[in-house]
């Protein structure tokens, strides 16, 4: 079990690194699917099979497919890859990388202080999650429903290709 956890973790990290360094969006998304799947394994090992299933269905399935769908709509050409290469230069990533490494090392230090010791792996099955969701968290579920509704309406409103009315935040300053 432990070995599987480490392997899956390593796969997740490596594939995530690949995601953020690809020039081609489709390649990056494929690595992203790998990363999500590795995480799903991790979830399973941690005793959350329902979360693992959701991870695959929603993240690796729905969300990634949605993004790919949008990319297809945008109809990106070869120039996009060249553009990405031009954008990703060392003077762009060195600073953020250093900052992030500092932050990471601090986090690692805090975590390894041992404030959160203990063992994980006990299975918490769907039944408990369902009971909890529709018990104490019923308000959260309803709020999530509203959020999704707002998301749908917002996406529809923003996604409309209406020539005349443009969203005021995105109006171009030309002319």
């Amino acid at each position: 079990m432990q070995l599987t956890f480490y392997i899956a973790g390593a796969v997740a990290i490596i594939s995530t690194i690949m995601v953020i360094t690809r020039f081609n969006v489709i390649h990056a998304l494929l690595y992203l699917v790998v990363s999500f799947m590795a995480l799903a394994v991790v979830f399973f090992i941690l005793g959350a099979p329902f979360a693992a299933a959701l991870e695959i269905i929603i993240y690796a399935g729905a969300i990634v497919v949605l993004i790919i769908f949008v990319i297809m709509m945008l109809n990106l050409k070869e120039e996009a890859v060249d553009q990405e290469k031009k954008w990703l230069t060392p003077d762009v990533y060195v600073g953020p990388a250093i900052l992030t490494i500092i932050l990471l090392s601090e986090l690692i230090y805090i975590i390894s202080l041992g404030g959160a010791s203990g063992v994980v792996g006990q299975v918490v099955d769907v039944k408990d999650v369902g009971k909890s969701l529709y018990g104490p968290y019923i308000l959260g579920v309803e709020l999530s429903g509203m959020l999704l509704m707002a998301g749908i309406v917002g996406a529809y409103h923003l996604g409309r290709k209406k020539k005349k009315v443009v969203h005021r935040f995105l109006e171009k300053i030309e002319e």
Binding site: G95, P96, L99, T100, I102, L103, E106, L107, I110
Partner: protein, 625 residues
């Protein structure tokens, strides 16, 4: 009891004229303007009749509670006693006559409605001042008349020097007003009330005679009185105040407002009596002022400035009378002075108007035949001012002051000599003015013959200034003391020192002789040998110049206060204190510019900011543990 109507009517008139003045016809403006004061004069008459017939000591009327904060509770309430009755009588009647005069005098002026609005407001403030039953309301009236004085001196505001004169009057009197305000604060601190009657009743119990607090408060009140009444050392504003129209000079700067200081001291005589030294200072100021202003009046050539200095001098007499505790004598002189000085100013205004706004006496002359009514009324006024014996009101009032300055319980020989010298000078400059203006050859053509609106008030005032004197006759003839008996409940009578009663007739003889010899001197200099005065002027040119400039007070103040102030403000043009605020502005701008760089609109930089913040927070948390 319609007491409140007396100040309210002019106020209403003023409001009507302010709001609707430009839409009313001149006739309507005149009716509203003088009618309101006329009505309040009628009510005064009615109230006075009731007051005397019921032989009450005071009427009281409370309009409403002004404020009530932590024991400080002045009310808008009026207190009428003999003293204020004399004052409101003079204010409303002389005021009404001057209003009537103004309807003709100001007829061709564009600011007709504005003039009457100010004048009505002034009458209201002055009535509030003298009717107030507490010092807060008195101070309101006090400042109200100051404001109206400012507005009316600068009435013809298109000329710069008029605005300057108005500002000067306002600022110089402000010095005195500040002293008065501090005095009132101290009174409140000591008595926890500003009610005049209560203070007058409590003061003798709280302070011994000669008490230091009483002394300080008296001097502060005196400061206010000196500023308002143009006495030494704050007299410099009054001659310049002649920039206003003549009716204004007559009403405000001769008859009523400038005597507010006399009223204040008479009203607070209970406090002054506890501070004999302060009273002495009042007398000294009066004596010094009357002589100084007299000499200055001798050398002036502007008709109205002569009258202005003579006003200062006559108020000096009133202060002298107050200084020797001759309260009712001061008020008597105030009343007579209001009549004849208003008369003189109005007549001078008529002369000036007739001669196309010519103020220079040396360019006048020979008006005796052209303007007979003006001449005769002016003559009556001048005789009264010069205190020609027996027939003029001024003789009786001034004689009483002369007599009491020597024989009164606080009198002394020096006061008497100064007053006598002043009387001599007074009659010289008065008749110099008369001879220069009305005798000799005609030098300027008479343009405007005054009509009824001007002559009738003059005739009434001439009558008043003559018969007014007979309501108070000295011991030596008749001993007829209606006026001082009337005032006695408010103002205690003064006792005469031992051994002086027998020589009263002698003093009167001396005073009469002095006045007549003054007339004779003027006659010699300006009628018999007109060249003599020029010779004297050139032989003592420096002295003449010194007197002409009012003993150099203006240039002294200019050097002492104005120049240093202008110098300092010149240095401090950019205001050192402002540097601090400019610095604040600069710093805010600086940081604004810096922080506006962070608002690049690039999302990644914002996230970078979040990351840096996160690092800082975590680091802090780690360091703390």
């Amino acid at each position: 009891m319609k007491l409140w109507l007396i100040p309210a009517l002019p106020l209403i008139g003023s409001f009507i004229l302010i709001v609707a003045g430009s839409r009313l016809s001149k006739r309507m403006v005149a009716i509203v303007g003088s009618g309101s004061v006329g009505l309040s004069a009628l009510i005064t008459l009615f109230t006075g009749y009731k007051f005397i017939s019921t032989s009450a000591t005071s009427f009281h009327y409370q309009a409403w509670q002004w404020m009530d904060v932590a024991g400080f509770s002045p009310a808008v309430s009026f207190h009428l006693d003999a003293l204020s009755l004399v004052f409101i009588f003079v204010i409303t009647f002389v005021g009404f006559l001057i209003h009537v005069y103004s309807t003709e005098f100001m007829a061709d002026d564009d600011g007709y409605a504005r003039f009457f609005a100010y004048l009505n407001l002034f009458v209201c403030s002055m009535l509030t001042l003298v009717l107030a039953d507490n010092f807060a309301l008195l101070y309101l009236g006090w400042e109200g008349v100051g404001l109206c004085s400012y507005l009316l001196i600068g009435f013809w505001y298109t000329e710069e020097k008029n605005g300057y004169a108005a500002r000067k009057a306002f600022i110089v009197t402000r010095v005195g007003d500040t002293a008065l305000a501090i005095g009132l604060f101290m009174l409140f601190q000591n008595f926890h009330t500003l009610n005049i009657q209560q203070i007058a009743a409590q003061a003798p119990q709280q302070w011994a005679v000669g008490s230091e607090t009483a002394m300080v408060i008296s001097l502060l009140l005196l400061g206010g009185a000196v500023g308002k009444s143009a006495q030494l050392p704050l007299q410099t504003w009054l001659p310049d105040a002649m920039a206003g129209p003549s009716p204004v000079s007559a009403l405000i700067h001769a008859a009523t407002m400038v005597t507010a200081g006399v009223y204040l001291i008479a009203r607070t005589h209970a406090i002054f009596e506890l501070a004999p030294d302060a009273l002495m200072i009042v007398g000294i100021i009066g004596a010094a002022t009357l002589v100084l202003a007299g000499f200055t009046a001798l050398t002036q050539f502007d008709l109205k400035r002569v009258l202005a200095y003579s006003t200062i001098s006559q108020i000096g007499y009133m202060f002298l009378a107050l200084g020797v505790s001759a309260w009712s004598a001061a008020i008597f002189h105030f009343m007579i002075h209001a009549f004849f000085k208003a008369l003189l100013f109005l007549a001078a205004g008529a002369v000036i108007m007739a001669l196309h706004h010519e103020h220079d006496m040396y360019k006048m002359g020979g008006l005796k035949k052209k303007l007979p009514i003006i001449y005769w009324t002016f003559l009556i006024g001048a005789s009264s001012l010069a205190a020609l014996p027996l027939v003029t009101g001024g003789f009786y009032s001034k004689d009483q002051i002369l007599w009491l300055s020597l024989a009164g319980e606080h009198g002394n020989i020096w006061f008497f000599l100064f007053a006598l010298l002043g009387a001599f000078i007074t009659s010289i400059y008065t008749f110099r003015m008369l001879f220069l203006t009305f005798f000799g050859n005609e030098k300027t053509h008479v343009g405007h013959i005054p009509g009824n609106g001007i002559t009738i008030p003059l005739l009434i005032l001439a009558g008043l200034s003559t018969i007014g004197g007979f309501i108070e006759l000295p011991h030596s003839f008749g001993h007829f003391t209606v006026f001082s008996n009337f005032l006695n409940p408010v103002l205690p009578s003064v006792s005469v020192q031992e051994g002086f009663e027998s020589i009263e007739w002698m003093i009167q003889l001396i005073a009469a002789g002095v006045a007549l010899s003054g007339v004779y001197v003027a006659y010699i200099f300006y009628i018999v040998k007109p060249g003599l005065s020029e010779e004297l002027k050139t032989s003592a040119a420096d002295l003449h110049k010194f007197w002409f400039n009012g003993w150099g007070f203006d240039s002294l103040y200019d050097k002492l206060f104005v120049k240093p102030f202008v110098f300092i403000s010149d240095i401090n043009k950019k205001d050192i204190v402002d540097l601090f605020y400019d610095g604040l502005v600069w710093i805010s701008n600086f940081f604004n510019r810096i922080f506006s760089y962070t608002q690049s609109g690039i999302l990644r930089w914002y996230i970078m900011g979040i990351v840096i913040g996160g690092i800082l927070l975590l680091t802090l948390g780690l360091i703390k543990n």
